[in-house]
Amino acid sequence: MSYIGQFRVWRGDSNGGSLEDFEVEVNEGEVILDVIHRLQATQAPDLAVRWNCKAGKCGSCSAEINGKPRLMCMTRMSTFSEGETITITPMRAFTVVRDLVTDVSYNYEKARQVPSFQPPEGLAPGEYRMQQVDVERSQEFRKCIECFLCQNTCHVVRDHEENKPAFSGPRFLMRIAELEMHPLDTADRRDMAQDEHGLGYCNITKCCTEVCPEGIHITDNALIPMKERVAGRRYDPVVWLGNKLFRRNRS
C-alpha cells in the first residue's frame, strides 16, 4: 500500500530560500509529519521542523500545505491523490528562522499584553464556585493549542506587517473574550480590546475559524460577542450620549 510521493518543501532562512523537490515513500494511514520525519531520517537530516506530540494536541507543527495553513500531524496523506505534488512551506505571516520553522515571538509578546485573570478579592482557594453552564463558553476557548494558525492566516497581519503593533490577532482577542466570560473574573477589558488589541481591525472574514484545528468557533463565539460587548459600551448611542452629557471620561 505504499507509494513514492512527490513533495516540494521550502528550504532556506530569512535571507532567502526556495522550494526543493523530494521523492519520499508514503505508507497507508500516514500524515504529512510522518513523511517529513522520513525525509529527515533518510534524505535531509538537517531539515528544520518543529513538532512535539504528533497527535494534534500541542500545536507545534504548524505549516502551510498546498498553500493552506494546517498542522502537519493532522493532515492525512489519504486526502491527497498519489500523483499529486504536495507543497509544504513555513507559515507566511511570521519571520522565517529556517526551513519550516518560523519565529512566533509576536504571539508571545501579545500574550503578555492581555491583563491576566483577576479573581474577586477575598475569595479563598477552594471556595470558588462556578456552574458548568457558566464555564463552558470560556472552556471552548481554552481548548486552544496555540498553534498560531489563526494568527498566521489572519490577513490583518499576514498581508500587513505594519498592523502587528496595533493588532493582537484572533488568538489573543479570543483570550480576552475568554476572560470576559470567565464567571469569576472581575476586570473589564472591553475598552482595551478595542484600543490596545485592535478588535476593530477584525473584519470577521472568518479565516481564523476556518483554519482552527481544534474547531473552535473563534469568530462566532469569541470575536463577534466581543465586538458586541464593545458596541454595548462604546457605540451604544444612549451610552454615548450619556457620556457626552455627563463628561464621563473614558480612561
Binding site: 510522518d34 533518510t42 538537517d46 494536541k57 470558588y128 464555564v135 481554552r142
Partner: protein
C-alpha cells in the same frame, strides 16, 4: 575559550512542563530571579497530553474521600515500593494545589453545586480526578503559563521589564550541569539555543530538573521527541543518583492502528466512562486477570461491573479499571495467546455501549482526535489498543520534603524525579505529582539559595569541555564509517523495545546490554550534516548521549531486580518478592567514559514507613507485600498470626 552568552540567575528550572512551571512560579513568588529553560516553545510541553485528570482527594463527588484513602491507593498502586513520605505529602497537598490553580484562572468541569467535578480512574477508590473534558493537561499547562505571564506583568508594572525576575528561554537545550570544584554543589548549566546553535551559560546556585521522561528510548511510545531522559542523564553526570529505573510504565491502551495514531493513548477515562476491553472472541477478558492482591475489590461478573457505572455504593468496579500494569500485562497475554486484534492489540469498545452523542459529549477531544488524525470514528467502531511506553517511575533520587538530590543545589520534580510512584503510577497521580513536588522543588531551591554563604563558581574548563562535547558530532570519526544519528536512534529504540520492554528475561536483558555497548561504540562515530542553525540531526546526536545513559540504567536495574512488580515484569521471576519490596536500586554514573559514562547499580534499603501511616493499612493487605518481620510492627499482627495459625490448624485437622 568558548564564546558563550552568559546569564546570572538564582534558580534555573530546566523543563517547562507542569513541574517546571510550578517550580518557577514558586521560586519567583519567593523573590528569586528565575529562568525557565525548555527545548520546545513555551506551552508545548508533554504535560498537554495528559487527558484523564489530576488526582486530589477533595471529596467533591464522594465525601468519603480524604488524603488517607488517596495515600493508600497510591501505595497500593505502587506495590508499596513508593517513598511513603512523598506519597504522604502528595496525598495531603494535592487538593490545595488544585484549588490554587483556580486562583490562576483554571476552569475545571463542575459538579452541580459548583465545585470541581471529579471522575473515576483506575486504582482510585473514589471519583478523584479533577478534569476538563479530556484535555486536563492542556488546562494545567495553559493555566500555569498564564500565571507566569501574570507574574511577569507584575514585574513589568514594577520595573518596566517583563523579564526582570522570571524569564523563559524557549527552544534552548541544556547539555551539561556545572558544579563547583570544591563543594561539588551546582554552579550552573550549559546549553545551546536550538535556533542559532550558539552556546549559553547559566550561572546559578540552584537548578530544578523538570525534564520529564525517557520514552524516546523505546520504539512504541506515546512520548514526544523531547522525552530523551535529559534530566536523568544530566543529573547522573553531575553526580546525582537515580532510583527505580527498572520501573517503566506501559500504558495499556495506546492505539496500535492505524499508523497515524499509533502510540497515541486512549485515556483511561474511556474505561471509567463505560468502555470495555474485549478480545477477538468478543469476550471481556479482564475478569480473568484480577490478581490475588486485588481479589474482592473488583466486580466478578460483567453484570455487576455494568451496575457499578450507575450505582457505585453497592457494586464493585469493573476490572477494566485495574491499575495500568495489570491491564497492560493482561492485554499482553491475550495477544500472546492468539486472541488479539488484527494489528496486535485488543479491542476497546465504547461504541456499542453508549450513544454517539454521549461519547462525543464525554470524550470530545478523543473523538475529534481519532476522527481527524486517522478517520476512525470511535462512536461507530471499537479501537485497537495495546501497551505503549508511557511513563518512567524511576528518576532522580530526592529528599521528599525539599526535592533536593544528593548533589547540593540540584532539585528535581515531576517525571524525572523518582520514588513517589513506587513501581507503578496511578493514572491521574502525575498531574498532582508535578503540582505538589514542582512547588516543593521551587521552595526547596529558594530555601537553599537563601541559606548559601557563597555562590558556587563555574569553571571555565568545564564550560570548554561541555562545548567540546556538544560540537563533537560535527567532527568526522577518527576511524570507521560515519554514523547517522537517526539510524542509531532507531536501533536503540528497537533494542530497548524488544529486549527491555514490557516483559523481561535475564538473557534478553544481558543481550540488550551487549547491544547497548556496541551501539555506544557507534555513538563515537556519529556525524551530522549542515551547520549549527536549527539542525535537528545535531540536536538528536546530542540527545542520544542521554538516551544511552538512561537506557543502560533501565537495563542494568531491570537485570538486577529478580522479581515482578508494577512496571517491571520478569518472565523468569513472575512473583512479587517481599524481600525486594524494601530494596531500592540506585544508579550512578561511573567516570570511565566522557561521552557516555557507564552506569553502576547498587542496592539500598528503603526506609520503613512511619508507624501512623503503616497503621492506615489493614494488616491482611500488608501481608501480601511485606515480610513477616516487617509485619510484626503492625498492632493487628497478632490477630493475623492467630488467624493464620487457626487456618493452618484446620488444614491439618
Amino acid at each position: 575559550m568558548t564564546e558563550v552568552e552568559r546569564h546570572n540567575y538564582d534558580v534555573v528550572v530546566i523543563g517547562a512542563g507542569g513541574a517546571g512551571l510550578r517550580a518557577a512560579i514558586e521560586a519567583r513568588e519567593r523573590g528569586l530571579r528565575t529562568a525557565v529553560v525548555c527545548k520546545s516553545l513555551f506551552g508545548k510541553a508533554h504535560t498537554v497530553m495528559a487527558e484523564g485528570g489530576c488526582a486530589a482527594s477533595m471529596g467533591n463527588v464522594n465525601s468519603n474521600d480524604n488524603w488517607q484513602v488517596h495515600f493508600r491507593d497510591t501505595m497500593r498502586g505502587g506495590k508499596f515500593l513508593n517513598n511513603w513520605r512523598m506519597a504522604e505529602l502528595h496525598a495531603k497537598e494535592a487538593p490545595d494545589r488544585v484549588w490554587e490553580l483556580e486562583t490562576y484562572g483554571a476552569l475545571f468541569d463542575r459538579t452541580p453545586d459548583g465545585k470541581i467535578s471529579q471522575r473515576n480512574f483506575g486504582g482510585h477508590t473514589y471519583p478523584r480526578l479533577a478534569h476538563v473534558g479530556d484535555r486536563t493537561g492542556l488546562e494545567l499547562i495553559r493555566t500555569m503559563q498564564q500565571k507566569i505571564v501574570s507574574l511577569q506583568q507584575e514585574d513589568y508594572a514594577e520595573t518596566g521589564d517583563y523579564e526582570a525576575k522570571l524569564k523563559v528561554f524557549a527552544e534552548c537545550t541544556i547539555t551539561e550541569l556545572l558544579t563547583d570544584d570544591s563543594s561539588g554543589a551546582i554552579s550552573g548549566a550549559f546549553g545551546y539555543w536550538r535556533e542559532s546553535g550558539r552556546f549559553v551559560l547559566f550561572e546559578a546556585p540552584a537548578v530544578v530538573m523538570a525534564t520529564g521522561g525517557i520514552g524516546k528510548s523505546f520504539k512504541v511510545t506515546s512520548n514526544s521527541w523531547e522525552y530523551t531522559g535529559d534530566g536523568h542523564a544530566l543529573a547522573l553526570r553531575a553526580g546525582a543518583t537515580l532510583i527505580n529505573m527498572e520501573f517503566v510504565q506501559f500504558h495499556p491502551t495506546g492505539m496500535v492502528w492505524p499508523p497515524s495514531v499509533k502510540g497515541i493513548l486512549v485515556t483511561e477515562g474511556v474505561r471509567g466512562d463505560g468502555g470495555v476491553l474485549k478480545n477477538s472472541e468478543g469476550k471481556r477478558f479482564m475478569f480473568d486477570y484480577v490478581p490475588d492482591v486485588f481479589k474482592g475489590q473488583y466486580a466478578e461478573t460483567p453484570e455487576e461491573a455494568d451496575r457499578w457505572y450507575t450505582d457505585q455504593e453497592n457494586n464493585r468496579r469493573t476490572p477494566d479499571l485495574l491499575p495500568r500494569d495489570e491491564v497492560a500485562r493482561a492485554i499482553n497475554s491475550e495477544v500472546k495467546e492468539g486472541r488479539g486484534s488484527p494489528h496486535g492489540g485488543v479491542f476497546l469498545d465504547i461504541a456499542s455501549r453508549m450513544s454517539a452523542e454521549e461519547i462525543k459529549r464525554r470524550l470530545p477531544s478523543m473523538y475529534h482526535q481519532f476522527k481527524e488524525l486517522a478517520d476512525v470514528d470511535i462512536t461507530k467502531e471499537p479501537m485497537e489498543v495495546g501497551p505503549t511506553c508511557h511513563y518512567v517511575m524511576g528518576g532522580i533520587e530526592v529528599d521528599p520534603d525539599s526535592a533536593q538530590s544528593v548533589v547540593p543545589g540540584l532539585f528535581a520534580a515531576g517525571e524525572c524525579s523518582g520514588g513517589m510512584h513506587g513501581s507503578n503510577r496511578l493514572g491521574g497521580n502525575s498531574l498532582s505529582d508535578l503540582l505538589v513536588f514542582g512547588r516543593r522543588a521551587g521552595q526547596g531551591a529558594a530555601d537553599y539559595v537563601a541559606g548559601l554563604d557563597r555562590r558556587p563558581v563555574v569553571l571555565q574548563s568545564d564550560v570548554d569541555a561541555a562545548a567540546r562535547m556538544a560540537l563533537l558530532p560535527f567532527d568526522p570519526p577518527e576511524s570507521g564509517e560515519p554514523e547517522n544519528p537517526y539510524t542509531l536512534h532507531q536501533d536503540l529504540q528497537q533494542t530497548m523495545n524488544d529486549l527491555v520492554g514490557i516483559i523481561r528475561k535475564a538473557d534478553e536483558i544481558e543481550q540488550a546490554l551487549e547491544r547497548l555497548a556496541e551501539l555506544k561504540t557507534r555513538m563515537r562515530r556519529v556525524v551530522v550534516e549542515g551547520h549549527r542553525q536549527y539542525n535537528p540531526g545535531w540536536h538528536l546526536a546530542i540527545d542520544l548521549r542521554n538516551m544511552f545513559m538512561v537506557s543502560e540504567a533501565v537495563a542494568k536495574a531491570a537485570l538486577m531486580r529478580t522479581e515482578s512488580r508494577g512496571g517491571h515484569t520478569r518472565d523468569d521471576y513472575p512473583q512479587l518478592d517481599a524481600e525486594w519490596r524494601k530494596t531500592l536500586l540506585v544508579c550512578s554514573a561511573t567516570d570511565d567514559d566522557e561521552l557516555v559514562p557507564g552506569i553502576k547499580v547498587e542496592r539500598k534499603e528503603q526506609e520503613p514507613m512511619r508507624q501512623d501511616l503503616f497503621e492506615l493499612f489493614d494488616v491482611e493487605e500488608l501481608s501480601k507485600y511485606y515480610t513477616e518481620e516487617e509485619l510484626a510492627a503492625h498492632p493487628d499482627y497478632q490477630s493475623l498470626a492467630a488467624k493464620g495459625n487457626a487456618e493452618a490448624g484446620k488444614e491439618e485437622a
